[in-house]
C-alpha cells in the first residue's frame, strides 16, 4: 500500500538533471524547448533542477566522449536512488555519426545502465515528452517488448 503510493509519487514528480556528454548542442536546445511555456512540462510534474542531488532522472545527450566518461560516472553516483537514465538523440543510442570515432565511447549504453532511449537527430520536443511519459508508464506502449534468449 505505502509502496504503491510512493511509486505513484515518483511517477508524478520527476525532477531531471541535464547532462551534456559531448553533444553538439542540438539535443540540448530541444530539451530547453520542452521547458518553455509552449510545451510546459511542469503539468506532468517534470522540473529541471540544477544539482544532481535533487534529481530523479538524468537526461544525457551526446555520444559520451572519452574525457566526459569520468564526470558522467560521478554525476550518476551523485544522484540518490531510485534514479532513471534517459538517453536523448541518436548519439546516445549508438554513437550517431561518431559511432566509430576514436574520441567517443560509441553511445551511453557502454557507460551507464540506461532506462530509455529517445532517438532522433535531434528528437522533437514532442518526442522527448512522449518518451519520458512512456518511461513512466503514463502512455500505453505501442510496441510489445521482446526478449531474446541465447541459443
Amino acid at each position: 500500500m505505502t509502496g504503491s503510493m510512493l511509486d505513484w509519487c515518483f511517477k508524478k514528480s520527476i525532477w531531471v538533471y541535464h547532462v551534456n556528454a559531448g553533444s553538439c548542442n542540438g539535443c540540448d536546445i530541444e530539451v530547453l524547448d520542452v521547458l518553455t511555456p509552449f510545451y510546459d512540462c511542469e503539468r506532468f510534474g517534470i522540473k529541471l533542477v540544477h544539482t544532481p542531488r535533487h534529481a530523479d532522472a538524468l537526461l544525457v545527450a551526446g555520444p559520451v566522449t572519452r574525457k566526459v566518461r569520468e564526470r558522467l560516472m560521478r554525476v550518476y553516483e551523485a544522484v540518490p536512488d531510485p534514479k532513471l537514465v534517459i538517453g536523448i538523440g541518436s548519439c546516445t543510442s549508438g554513437g550517431g555519426i561518431w559511432h566509430d570515432s576514436y574520441a567517443t565511447l560509441g553511445g551511453l549504453a557502454n557507460v551507464l545502465p540506461v532506462n530509455m532511449f529517445i532517438p532522433g537527430c535531434p528528437p522533437r520536443p514532442e518526442a522527448i515528452l512522449y518518451g519520458v511519459a512512456q518511461a513512466l508508464g503514463m502512455v500505453p506502449k505501442t510496441v510489445k517488448s521482446q526478449t531474446y534468449k541465447e541459443v
Binding site: 503539468r43 510534474g45 535533487h54 530523479d56
Partner: protein, 313 residues
C-alpha cells in the same frame, strides 16, 4: 501542569493547528502559487496534488550525506527548520482561533521562532561542505541582517499603536478600533512588512541565498531525499503562517463567526496574490542592492511609520 494539558499541548503542536494542519494547508498554497505563476506565464501549470507528490517522492528517496565530521549538524538542521515553523504556526493559528489563549510577550517569542528556519538553513549550508552551501549560507546571513530591521520596526509600529506585547490584544484592539492598516503608520508598516515577509520566505526578488540559477540552491545544494523534503515542508508551512501573521497584525479583526472566517481566507488570498505577483514579475536583486534597499529606504519608511505610531497617527 496536569496530564491533560500536556496532551492537549502536544496535540496543538503536532496536529491542529500545528504541524499536520499547517503542512497540508501550506502545501496546497504552494500549489496555488505554482498554478498562479503558470497562468501569469500563460502555461497550464501543475495539477493540485503536485506538491504532495513532490514531498512523497522526496521522502521515498535515499538521503546522501557528504563525508566529513559534521554529519550530525547536516542531519539535524532540517529538523530545526521544521520545529521553528511548526511552533510559529502553532502560536499564530492558536491566537487567530482564540485571542484569549495568547500569553504576554508572545510577539517576542514569535520573532525568535520565526527566525529559526533561516538559521537552520545557514547551519545546514555550512555543514554541507560544499562551496555553494557556504556562499549561500553567507548570503542568507546577510539577508537576515537586512530584513529583520524592517520587520522588527513594522511589528513595533503595531505594538506601539496597541500598547501591548500580546498577539491577542492586537486582535482585541482591532475589533474595537478597526484594522491597523487604516492609518498612515499602518500603511507604511504594512508595506515594509510585506516585503520583509517576501524576503523571509526566500522568494524572488530576495531569493539571493538560494539563487537556483547561480548557486544551484545554495544551502540546499547538497540536500537530497528526506532532508530536502523537511526543508520544503518547512517552507510551505511558513508560506501559510507568515501571511496569516501579516493579516493578524494589520488587517484584523478575525472573529469567531463564519463570515469573519470567509473574510480571513479572502484577505489571505489577496496577500498571497500580491506576494506571487511580485515573485513572478521581478528579477533577482544582487546582495548589495537588497542590503541597500532594506537598510536605507525600507528602514527609513519603517522608522517613519514607528514615529507616527508613537505620535498616535
Amino acid at each position: 501542569m496536569d496530564f491533560h494539558s500536556i496532551l492537549s499541548a502536544i496535540f496543538a503542536c503536532l496536529i491542529f493547528p500545528g504541524f499536520l494542519f499547517t503542512a497540508i494547508g501550506g502545501l496546497f498554497l504552494i500549489w496555488v502559487d505554482r498554478k498562479l505563476t503558470a497562468l501569469l506565464q500563460s502555461r497550464k501549470g501543475p495539477p493540485w496534488y503536485q506538491p504532495f507528490a513532490d514531498i512523497g517522492k522526496l521522502l521515498s528517496k535515499r538521503m546522501l550525506i557528504p563525508g566529513g565530521n559534521r554529519n550530525l549538524t547536516f542531519i539535524i538542521a532540517p529538523m530545526i527548520a521544521l520545529a521553528g515553523s511548526m511552533l510559529t504556526a502553532t502560536i499564530i493559528f492558536r491566537t487567530i482561533m482564540n485571542p484569549e489563549v495568547s500569553f504576554v510577550g508572545d510577539v517576542l517569542v514569535l520573532i525568535y521562532l520565526a527566525s529559526l528556519p533561516p538559521i537552520a538553513l545557514i547551519l545546514g549550508g555550512s555543514a554541507s561542505r560544499s562551496p555553494f552551501g557556504a556562499i549561500g549560507a553567507g548570503r542568507e546571513m546577510n539577508m537576515i541582517l537586512a530584513y529583520e530591521i524592517g520587520f522588527l520596526l513594522a511589528i513595533f509600529t503595531v505594538l506601539a499603536k496597541v500598547h501591548s506585547i500580546r498577539l491577542g490584544d492586537v486582535l482585541l484592539y482591532q475589533s474595537l478600533h478597526g484594522p491597523v492598516l487604516f492609518s498612515i503608520s499602518g500603511v507604511l508598516a504594512f508595506s515594509v512588512a510585506l516585503l520583509c515577509i517576501q524576503a523571509k520566505l526566500g522568494f524572488i526578488p530576495f531569493d539571493i541565498g538560494e539563487a537556483e540559477t547561480e548557486l544551484i540552491g545554495g544551502p540546499l545544494a547538497e540536500y537530497s531525499g528526506a532532508g530536502l523534503a523537511l526543508y520544503k515542508i518547512s517552507g510551505a508551512m511558513s508560506f501559510f503562517s507568515l501571511p496569516s501573521l501579516l493579516i493578524l497584525l494589520f488587517i484584523g479583526p478575525i472573529g469567531p463567526s463564519a463570515l469573519s472566517w470567509l473574510g480571513f481566507f479572502m484577505k489571505l488570498s489577496l496577500v498571497l496574490v500580491v506576494i506571487v505577483v511580485i515573485k513572478s514579475t521581478h528579477a533577482r536583486l544582487r546582495i548589495d542592492q537588497a542590503l541597500k534597499l532594506f537598510w536605507t529606504r525600507l528602514a527609513l519608511i519603517a522608522a517613519l511609520g514607528a514615529g507616527l505610531a508613537l505620535l498616535g497617527w
